[in-house]
Amino acid sequence: MLRSLAVAVFLLCAGCATYRTPGAGASLEALGRPGAVEDAARRPSPQFPVGIAVVRIQAPRYSSYSAKAYGNGPFSVLAEGPATAALLREISGWPSVKSAAAFGIGLLPQRLSSLEDLRLAAAKAQIDVLLIYTVDTSLRTPDRAYDPGASVPLDAQGASFAVRASAIFSDVRTGFTYGTDEAVVSGEASDARNSREHLEARRLEVEQQAVEQLASNVGQTWAGIVQHYR
């Protein structure tokens, strides 16, 4: 009897097992980035060779199966991970770059309200340019799109990840935006042997591809920035 009950509970749990989709990407506009008119009034302040810091921001209270972001407010900051490491590898080969580092969250306040919080923290670390990026990952099946933070049945068929990675170059001193970039990559998410670990690993893999594509794009943008401002 007891054995039959255990089997029944196991089957029940297996049938309702789910994977929680990651939080959304941050709206770079929500950062308090100036509008076009205000941005025109700001000025570039390039200090070649520059120190660049890379910071990944996500939507407020972002969490995923494997990570949790820092800070309260209109965005949150995700500590260094494989995606950021990929960007740093790319940046180390860029021209006119004195140093490249991941953004240390130690100097950030708990309450994040705008881009200025990031700039001020970067200034304290003698950073000249911030490369701010965000990753927006959605999961969909042929008949449904899942919101960020939604529960997806592990046995969902035909699921795929769509990843949009976006980035801006921001001048730490003035807030001037040097340029923006983005990359979009998608990949199959599931098969008959779905598990949370498998889905998470697959999500990170697709996000990594998107960030690597983004890294290539921002590299070209950086070359243009150096040519224009140096």
Binding site: S45, P46, G106, E116, L120, K124, Q126, V172
Partner: protein, 829 residues
């Protein structure tokens, strides 16, 4: 207050001369990381020349990882000398633990603040209370300390930039050092001993960096930034002190005087618990590295480091200006340098940042080219890479723009030209001036010669030789052509320009080297004449009778050489005009030729009869009595009379030219302009108003000469033009051992002042002294003896009523609180 400060300072420098040279700031202290936020802009402190109310400051002290002593950091704002700051303006931070250790200290500049300081004190009981008590007890002294610290830090930044540049060049090309040193001196206002550049290359750099602290010249820009807090007089006195006999008659720079003043002020604060030591902020990347001149003590009294932050004041933009505003620069040069001067801090600090050369194109488009200061090149170096793709037209105006701290900065403007295909022509007379067999010189003219990169000479066989060239005007270059081994015939010059494609070709004709003598012309009585002909470069000499003439300057015009020959033999005076005389010309190859001499009428000559100087109405303001009749005050009027010698009577068109010895200032007096009036046919009276004729900057010996029919006579000495300073007040303390204070205007016109005519105890005034007060010896029998800058060979007399200089009995620095009375104060006579 001023008198008190003056007395104190003079008492210090005169009474404590034995230790005049201050200890150098060569001990490395901790580093301060400071970030300032104003509105949307965030800058490191290294780019902030001054603070403003409501600025947000983040300060974090960085100590070595192995730091064992705990330091309390205290940020303090002051609000002037006479208004102690409230206790709420003291912000403390324990650098070794808690939030401060992790996040640093964030403060906002309070309303009404005028100065800012940071103290770094070894942690001990009552540390904060002791600092609050010291600052609130004597805020004026700390105001002075911030001013002196800021002044010294700014001065030192110039010295460090200079030394870094010299050391970078040491061991390299000696010619480069010779070229760069004057540019560094100009950019950074550093004194360069030109004799160093005559030494052997291995010794040049060492020589240029000797006596480092005294190399720093007074710089009005940093003084104006630093002195704003006290309104000027104190800084003036600091500089005045630097030219006292005890500080080496101006040998020491104002920097040393500032450092001495800092040490004196902070010495007076010694207590049983703390002693205060100055820390100079030196730029280290975006951080401020603190340099100490005293070893910190961790035994009582413990050492508190005092660091000055930029003053809270309205921004003063740098007085940067173009070295030559009329110069036209080539925008197409890849290494375009725009020479500027007048603001050394633009070169030695990062206060000027994000500077661009902003160009307005003919289509209204604006192009901003990044520009960076380079003291070794004497200006801003512009990256013109993006110009190639733009269409700005042939001529464009640009200006240096950017930011000075948080304030937008509009710098000097420049006229630039783009290289373009334009017609090049030989100047008139040069078309047929080229002779084969010698190096020859021609001038090329175009509508813009600023973009020339190189000039080559192509001979009839197509062989190309490099030609030496230099710009002589904005539209003209001088070219030396290597024709020594050339043959006569058609050749061409190939002119390459920056940014242009193919070089432009200018055809030239080189003539054969036929030697020919045309004439030798000389005025009767003259010792020199002019030989005309061709290939006169081969002339070795000329004789007329026993008078031997030697060659002087050779010029070529219209294909004809003209060679000046002169003699020391007075016999030529005996040759009468029109008399037939023959000259023998000898050539370098030993051959000789005979030539008829043309003797022209003698040049005009005048004899000076007498002169009179009429002083101006304001001449008494100077309080200086000139003792030499030959000295002519610049604001006086000179009347002098002359007698005609040759010709025997004055002609209607005769004039008298008056000029300075170097000819840089001159004027013509004649019957038409009223400068010359005839007494009779042989005697005339001339009147000269130097101020009107020459302006303020003319000085030194004046001379005159007659001019008739464009023929000028010999120069004769007339007077020595001197400009007088205004000596207003003389204040003296009771003690004859203390210096008096002499106030006035234009004191840079004084070379030296003494109490005796032999100048045994003299006070020499340094070059370019801009102050309004000088320390001088007590007068003897009411007299001071003055040598003027414009004529230091003459000792003049100044007579001023002596006023009493009150003794500052209530000076706060003279009697410090508690223990540790300053030896410099107590020892002052």
């Amino acid at each position: 207050m001023l008198a008190r400060v003056c007395w104190l300072l003079l008492a210090f420098v005169l009474g404590d001369a034995a230790r005049a040279a201050p200890a150098p700031f060569d001990l490395a202290g901790p580093t301060l990381n400071i970030v300032v936020r104003r509105g949307p802009t965030i800058l490191p402190a290294s780019e902030v020349p001054d603070l403003a109310e409501d600025d947000h400051l983040w300060i974090k002290a960085a100590f070595p990882a192995s730091q064992s002593a705990d330091y309390l950091m205290v940020a303090v704002f002051l609000r002037g000398s006479t208004n102690p700051p409230p206790e709420s303006w003291f912000f403390s931070c324990e650098t070794w633990r808690g939030d401060c250790a992790r996040e640093g200290l964030t403060v906002t500049v309070p309303k009404g603040a005028q100065q800012a300081l940071v103290f770094l004190a070894p942690s001990t009981s009552g540390d904060m209370h002791a600092i609050v008590k010291a600052v609130r007890g004597r805020p004026g002294a700390f105001v002075r300390a911030t001013q002196d610290l800021n002044q010294a830090a700014l001065d030192r930044s110039r010295l460090e930039s200079y030394l870094a540049a010299i050391h970078a060049l040491d061991g390299g090309d000696p010619a480069r050092l010779k070229e760069v040193a004057p540019l560094l001196a100009r950019s950074l206002a550093i004194k360069v001993d030109e004799k160093c550049l005559d030494k052997i290359p291995e010794l040049q750099a060492a020589c240029l960096t000797q006596a480092q602290d005294s190399l720093i010249l007074n710089d009005g820009q940093s003084t104006s930034i630093a002195q704003a807090l006290t309104g000027g007089p104190a800084a003036d006195l600091v500089m005045a002190a630097s030219v006292t006999p005890e500080l080496g008659y101006g040998l020491y720079s104002p920097y040393i005087a500032s450092v001495l003043d800092i040490v004196r002020i902070l010495d007076s604060f010694g207590t049983a618990q703390f002693q205060y030591i100055p820390a100079l902020a030196s730029l280290k990347g975006d951080k401020l590295a603190l340099m100490l001149n005293a070893v910190p003590s961790f035994y009582s009294p413990k050492s508190v480091m005092v660091v000055a932050l930029p003053a809270v004041q309205k921004t003063r933009l740098p007085p940067l200006h173009a070295v030559d505003p009329t110069e036209i620069y080539c925008a197409s040069r890849t290494d375009l340098v725009l020479p500027v001067e007048g603001a050394p801090l633009a070169f030695s600090t990062r206060y000027a940042h994000d500077i661009t050369l902003t160009l307005a194109g003919k289509d209204g488009q604006t192009l901003r080219l990044p520009a960076r200061p380079d003291a070794a090149r004497g200006g801003y170096v512009v990256n013109t890479g993006r110009l190639q793709a733009s269409s700005l037209g042939d001529s464009v105006h640009g200006s240096l723009e950017g930011w000075w701290g948080f304030e937008p900065y509009q710098g000097p403007g420049f006229q630039l030209r783009n290289a373009h295909a334009s017609a090049w022509t030989l100047t008139a007379g040069d078309e047929d001036a080229l002779i084969a067999g010698r190096q020859d010189t021609v001038h090329l003219r175009t509508d813009g010669a600023t973009c020339v990169d190189s000039i080559m000479l192509r001979d009839p066989a197509g062989k190309e030789l490099k030609a030496e060239w230099k710009p002589v005007k904005t539209d003209e270059v001088e070219v030396k052509l290597p024709l020594t081994d050339a043959h006569a015939g058609a050749m061409s010059l190939l002119i390459s320009q920056y940014g242009a494609g193919q070089p432009q070709t200018v055809p030239i004709q080189v003539f054969s080297n036929v030697r020919r003598l045309e004439s030798f012309a000389i005025h009767a009585g003259d010792a020199q004449g002019v030989l005309s002909g061709s290939r006169l470069d081969e002339v070795a000499g000329l004789t007329i009778g026993s008078a031997a003439f030697v060659p002087g300057a050779l010029s070529t015009q219209g294909g004809k050489d003209q060679l000046v020959l002169s003699t020391a033999d007075a016999q030529t005076a005996a040759i009468a005009p029109g008399a037939g005389a023959t000259a023998v010309v000898s050539f370098k190859d030993g051959r000789t030729s005979k030539l008829a001499v043309t003797v022209e009428a003698p040049r005009p000559q005048l004899a000076l009869i007498g002169k009179n100087v009429a002083p101006s109405q304001s001449s008494g303001d100077s309080n200086i009595r000139l003792v030499n009749q030959d000295q002519l005050p610049q604001d006086a009027r000179l009347t002098f009379s002359v007698r005609a010698q040759i010709p025997a009577a004055f002609a209607r068109d005769q004039a008298i030219e008056v000029a300075t010895a170097d000819g840089s200032f001159s004027t013509t007096l004649n019957l038409g302009n009223g400068g010359l009036r005839l007494e009779n046919a042989k005697v005339a009276v001339a009147t000269l108003d130097p101020a009107k004729a020459f302006g303020f900057s003319a000085f030194g010996p004046l001379r005159f000469r007659p001019v008739v029919d464009s023929v000028a006579g010999d120069w004769q000495a007339l007077a020595t033009l001197v400009r007088l300073p205004v000596l207003k007040d003389l204040q003296c303390p009771e003690s004859p051992e203390l210096a008096c204070k002499l106030s006035g205007a234009d004191l840079f016109l004084v070379d030296a002042i003494a109490s005796d005519p032999q100048f045994t105890k003299a006070m020499r005034v340094s070059d370019g002294f801009p102050g309004t007060a000088l320390p001088v010896p007590h007068p003897t029998e009411g007299r001071l003896y003055v040598k003027l800058r414009d004529d230091p060979s003459v000792v003049n007399i100044a007579t001023l009523p002596v006023q009493s200089l009150p003794k500052p009995a209530d000076d706060p620095g003279a009697k410090p609180d508690g223990a540790g009375e300053s030896s410099s104060q107590a020892g002052a006579p």
